[in-house]
Assembly symmetry: C2
Homo-oligomer: 610 residues x 2
C-alpha cells in the first residue's frame, strides 16, 4: 500500500520497549488516517476504567496519507487519547512541520503507552527511535525545551513536539507545542504527555512518501494549490492572519465578549489583524506546504516586552482579550506567549479565566477565593497572573487548572460554565450561527469549532460538489441540521487526512490527491461517507465511555438571548435542531448512539459496544 510507509512506532514508556506495528490497511481504508485512524486504534485500547492520566491511557500521534506530500495544507499531525479534561475522546491537531517530519523519519504514527520512570524524550531519526533522558529538561518551558533538544541532537532538519510546565503539572488543558509556537491545544493532550513523563518527541529524516500514481497526484495537488491561492478567504488569512476579519464578523455577533454575555463589543477591533499589522507584527509563518501562511509573529515592547511571540491568532485574541473586555493587544499577545511557553490551550485557558471574571463580577467569587486577586472586567493583569498560577498549579490557579466545568462545580454553578462535555466553547457564537449550536453540542471532543465550521459555511463557503449549501445563519430547521451534519462529516474527513480547514479546493481535487497517493479508487460520494464513518466511530468511543444523548446540550448561558439592538442574533432552538439532527445522523434518540442500521451502513457493526 502506498501513501503510507505503512508502520506505526510503538513505545512502551514503562519498560522502554520500542517496536514497530505495520499499519493496518483495512483500518486505513475505513478511516483514512489522522484522528479517524487513531480512534480506530484507540477504540480497542480504552474503556471506562482507563484513567486519562494513568499509564494505561494510550497516546497516539498520527499523520495522514497526504501529510508530507506536495498536497497543500496537509503538513499536520494529530494527538489523540482519552482526554483528561473531558473524560471522552481527545484529539487535537497542529501544523508546522512535525507531521511531515514524522513521516520523513519513517513512521505514519506513534502509539505511546505506559509511563516512564523519569522524564524522557523520544528521538526518531530516519527509522531509528530511542528514548533519551529528559530530567534536565523538566521544568523548562516549551521554547527552552526545543532549544535544548536541538542543541543535543544537532540535526538541521528537526521538528520537536513537547510540553511545558503546564503539561508536567497535569493542567487539564495543557497543550502539545511543536515547531516553536504551533499548538495542538485542545483536550489536554499535553497533560497526557506529562502523565507519562514524556517531555518531547523529536523527529526528522529523509524518507519520502511514496505515491501510487505520481502524475495524478501531482496534477491534483497543483490544481488544489492554485484553487486555494485564488480563494479570497485564504487571501484574507494570508494577508491579515486569522484575526483579519474580526472587525467585520463582530457585526453579526460571531465574536464573543464579556464571557459570552454580549453580542457586540466594538473595541474588539483593537485586537484585529489590522491593529496587529500596524503595531506589533514583525513576521509571518507558514506550515509545511502551506500556500496561505496565516501564522503571525509579533514583537512587543514596553510593559509586556517580548522580542518574539508566535501569534496571536483569532481564537486567542478573543479568548484572552474580548472575553474579559480587554483590548490591550500587546498584553493579549504577551498572554499568548505565556500560554505558548507554559504549554496551555489559549481557548480553554482564556474561557476558564473569563468564567472566573464572570463569577467574580456576580459575587460568586471574592478575593478570598482568588488569593487576593481582583478580577475586574478589562483588567488583563490579573489574567496574566492567573496564567502563571495555572501552569504552576499555584494559588487560585490550582482550581482553574481543572477547567471551567470543575470551577463551576466547585462553586455550585456548573450550569453557567460555557463548556460542552468539559471542553470550553471556542470563539464562534452559536447564537450568531445556529449550525454552531449543533456542532458544539455533538462534536466528539466537546465544543469544537474545527470539525464543523458552520460559521464559515453560512458566510458563503459551501462545498457545492457535496451539496453543502449556504443557509440562513439564524435558522433552526431540518435543513440546518442536515447541512451541519454534512459539514461535520466533511471536516471530520479533513481531520483524518490531516488537512487544514483553511484549505478549500474542489472536493474532486482532494479526492484525486487521496486516490493518487494511496492508489485507492474512491469516488466523490465516498468522501462524506469516510467522514461520517470516522465521526460515528468517535461517537461510539464516547458511548463506550458513558456518553449518552443527555450529553448533547449547549451550556445555559448560550441559550439566553444576547442583548443588542445593533446585532441580530438568535437563540438556537435545540428542540427543533437536535431531533432533526438525530434523524439525519441515524442516531437513537434514547441512547444517543448510531442505530444498528446506521452502523451497518457505515460498516461499523462489529464495533458496537454492549
Amino acid at each position: 500500500m502506498n501513501g503510507f510507509m505503512g508502520k506505526l512506532l510503538v513505545v512502551d514508556l514503562t519498560n522502554g520497549q520500542i517496536s514497530t506495528l505495520p499499519l493496518d490497511e483495512g483500518y486505513a481504508r475505513q478511516f483514512v488516517g489522522g484522528a479517524g485512524l487513531a480512534c480506530r486504534y484507540l477504540y480497542e485500547r480504552v474503556d471506562r476504567r482507563t484513567d486519562p492520566l494513568g499509564p494505561e491511557n494510550p497516546l497516539m500521534f498520527m499523520t495522514g496519507p497526504l501529510v508530507g506530500t506536495e498536497a497543500p495544507l496537509c503538513g499536520r499531525y494529530v494527538v489523540c487519547a482519552r482526554s483528561p479534561l473531558t473524560g471522552l475522546w481527545g484529539e487535537s491537531n497542529s501544523g508546522g512541520r512535525f507531521g511531515p517530519y514524522l513521516r520523513f523519519a519513517g513512521y505514519d504514527g506513534i502509539l505511546v503507552t505506559g509511563k516512564a520512570p523519569y522524564p524522557v524524550y523520544l528521538s526518531i531519526w530516519n527509522g531509528q527511535a530511542e528514548l533519551k533522558d529528559a530530567r534536565s529538561l523538566w521544568g523548562k518551558d516549551t521554547y527552552e525545551t526545543q532549544v535544548a533538544i536541538r542543541d543535543e541532537l544537532q540535526r538541521a532538519q528537526l521538528s520537536i513536539a513537547c510540553i511545558g510546565p503546564a503539561g508536567e503539572n497535569l493542567v487539564k488543558y495543557a497543550a502539545v507545542m511543536n515547531d516553536w509556537g504551533r499548538a495542538a491545544g485542545r483536550t489536554g493532550m499535553g497533560a497526557v504527555m506529562g502523565s507519562k513523563n514524556l517531555k518531547a518527541i523529536a523527529v526528522g529524516g529523509d524518507f519520502r512518501v511514496p505515491l501510487a500514481d505520481e502524475a495524478r497526484f501531482k496534477a491534483a495537488a497543483q490544481a488544489a494549490s492554485e484553487e486555494i491561492k485564488a480563494d479570497v478567504k485564504a487571501q484574507f488569512l494570508a494577508a491579515g492572519g486569522t484575526a483579519s476579519t474580526i472587525d467585520t464578523t463582530m457585526w453579526i455577533g460571531d465574536v464573543p465578549s464579556k464571557y459570552f454575555t454580549e453580542a457586540l463589543w466594538e473595541p474588539v477591533a483593537h485586537l484585529s489583524g489590522a491593529t496587529m499589522a500596524e503595531t506589533i507584527l514583525v513576521g509571518k509563518r507558514a506550515c509545511y506546504r502551506c500556500v496561505i501562511g496565516c501564522g503571525r509573529v509579533t514583537s512587543v515592547t514596553g510593559k509586556y516586552a517580548k522580542e518574539k511571540i508566535d501569534g496571536p491568532e483569532y481564537e486567542t485574541v478573543v479568548a484572552l482579550g474580548s472575553l474579559i473586555l480587554s483590548d490591550d493587544l500587546p498584553a493579549v499577545a504577551y498572554a499568548n506567549h505565556l500560554c505558548n511557553a507554559y504549554g496551555l490551550d489559549t481557548i480553554s485557558a482564556g474561557v476558564t479565566i473569563a468564567f472566573a471574571y464572570y463569577l467574580y463580577d456576580r459575587g460568586i467569587l471574592t478575593t478570598s477565593d482568588t488569593n487576593g486577586l481582583e478580577l475586574k472586567w478589562g483588567d488583563i493583569e490579573a489574567a496574566l497572573t492567573l496564567l502563571e498560577q495555572i501552569a504552576q498549579r499555584k494559588g487560585f490557579g490550582a482550581v482553574l487548572a481543572e477547567g471551567s466545568r470543575y470551577l463551576g462545580r466547585k462553586y455550585g454553578v456548573e450550569d453557567w460554565a460555557v463548556q460542552v462535555n468539559g471542553l470550553e466553547v471556542p470563539m464562534h457564537e452559536p447564537r450568531a450561527f445556529t449550525g454552531m449550536a449543533l456542532v458544539y453540542a455533538t462534536s466528539p471532543r466537546g465544543a469544537c469549532h474545527t470539525q464543523g465550521d458552520m460559521f464559515l459555511v453560512d458566510l458563503g463557503a459551501p462545498v457545492p460538489e457535496l451539496d453543502i449549501q449556504i443557509g440562513n445563519r439564524l435558522e433552526s430547521s431540518e435543513e440546518k441540521a442536515l447541512m451541519t451534519a454534512r459539514v461535520m462529516n466533511w471536516r471530520t474527513l479533513y481531520g483524518s487526512l490531516v488537512m487544514c480547514v483553511f484549505g478549500n479546493p474542489q472536493a474532486s481535487n482532494i479526492l484525486a490527491m487521496l486516490n493518487g497517493v494511496t492508489g485507492w479508487d474512491l469516488q466523490l460520494e465516498d468522501l462524506l461517507l469516510l467522514g461520517e464513518r470516522a465521526f460515528n466511530l468517535k461517537r461510539l468511543f464516547n458511548g463506550k465511555l458513558g456518553l449518552t444523548a443527555e450529553n448533547d446540550r449547549l451550556p445555559k448561558l448560550l441559550l439566553q438571548p444576547l442583548p443588542s439592538d445593533v446585532v441580530e442574533t438568535q437563540v438556537p432552538d435545540m428542540g427543533v435542531l437536535l431531533p432533526a439532527y438525530y434523524r439525519v445522523r441515524g442516531w437513537d434518540s434514547q441512547t444517543g448512539m448510531p442505530t444498528h442500521a446506521k452502523l451497518q451502513e457505515l460498516g461499523l457493526e462489529d464495533l458496537a459496544f454492549s
Copy 2:
C-alpha cells in the same frame, strides 16, 4: 397600466410652463423605469450640441415601478441628464424618501427643461405643481435650504431634493441632496440644477401606487424582505454601516490609498464602522421601506465639532481619508458634512483633491499653484480648506471644481488622473477585482461601481438563478468578461427599478414583485435582457455624443502594479478582457457600438444613430 400612475410632470423653467405627459407604456415595457426609462426620454432630446449646463439640457427625475410600494429597498429616485463632468450620459440615484414621495405626489417622474430667469424651486403636492421664488434660498447650504422650504410649505410629510452652493456655482461634480444628507452625488446633476436656476424640488402627497396583482406582489415583497433580512451581507451593513467591512477588504487590496498608489494602508481600519461606533456614531438611518438601514448619523466634538453629520459612508471615508493618508475619522466626518452642506459628490471631490496631493507630492504642483496651500499626505486640513474653495470656486478650488480630468489636462498630466471618461474612480480597486476594470472602463456614466459590483460577486454574492458565478477575483479571462457583463446587466435593471444594490433577494422574487405591480408577464430570463437593453441604450446615448471604443480604457495609474508583499493584487489584462467583453456584448470593435444584430436582438434598431 398599473404600477405607474402613468404620468410625468414636464416643467419648462424658461417660461414657467408646467404640463403633464402621459407615461409611454411602450417605453416602460422596454426600459422598465428609472435610469433606463429616463435615458429613453432623453435619447431623443440630447445631441452633441446640447450644452450640459445650457438651458437646452433636459433634466429628469425618475422613479420606477416598485418605488413607493412595499417592495424592500426600492425607495429611490434617479436624476439624469447629459453630464457636465463627463459630457456623456449622466445619472445618479439616491435613497431617502424623495422617490416614493414623488409618486405619492402623483408623478412617476419630472422632466425639467429651460432655465428660470431667477432662482426658483418646484413644489409638487398631491398632483399640483408650482414654481416658487427661491431667490432668498440662493447661497444657502442644503440643510438651510431644506429647513427654509419646510418652514414655508408647512407640510409634515414632505421630501426635498436640492442643491447647495456647489450646484449654484456649477461645480462639475455638484450633488443633488435630498432628505437631509442623502446624495445623488455622481456626474454633476447638481450643477445641471444650478444651471437652470432650480434650487430645489419639494414633493409629497397621498396618492398610492396601484398594484395590478396585489396578492402576488405582496407575497413576493414579503419574501424578498425576509431574504434580505437573512442575508449576512445586509446584516453587516445594518449593524456596522457601509464601512463595516473596510478593515477586512483592505487585506485583499480593495481599499485604495495614497491616490491609488498603495495596496494596503492598515490605518484605514481607523475609519471603519467599528471605530465609528466606538467614537462618533449617534444614530442610524434607513431609506423608505428599507429593511437594512445602512445609513449612519455621527456627531463630532472638539476641533471638527458638528452636532449631527449624515454619514460618513464607505466611499466617503476612503475618498476623503485614505486617499490622502488621513485616518482622522472626526475630520473625515466633518469633510463629509462639508460635502453634504455644499452639495458635493464625496467621491469626485475626494479623488480630485487626492490627485492634487499626488501632484504636489510629485512636484507638479507647488504652493504657487495652490494659493499657498501645502498638500502633504496625511494632512486633511488642506483638504477641508479645498472643499470650501471648490464649492465657492475660490482660489485653487476654482481649478479643482472642474474635476480630475481638467486638473490633469491643465498641468499636462491627464494620463495620471484616475478617472474614466471624466468620472473619478470610486473606492474599489480594479487591481483587486479584475471585473471592476471592465466595469469602470465601460460603464455608461464613466467609472461607476454601482452598475456592476464585481467586488461583491467575487467575494461570494452571486445570483445563481441568472447564472452569475463567483470567480477568481484576479483573473483576466473570457469567463470574467461574461460574468462582468451579466452583473452589469443585472445592476442596470436595478437602476431601472430603482432598487438599491444592497438588496439581493432571489431574482424570482424581484420578478414577481415587478409582474405583480405592473401586471406584466415577464419571465426570469427577461430580467437580464431588460438590463442589457437599458445598458445598450445608454451606450447608444454616449455614442451619439461621440463616445467610441477608444473611450473604454482604464487610467494609466490603475494599470501599474501595486507595491505590496502583503496583499495580492493583479493588473487586469485589458488586452484579454476588453475583446472578450466586446464579443460577449455584441459590440463592434471599431465603433465600440452594438452591432446591428445586437440592436435587433434588443429591439433597439430604430434608435441607432447614424
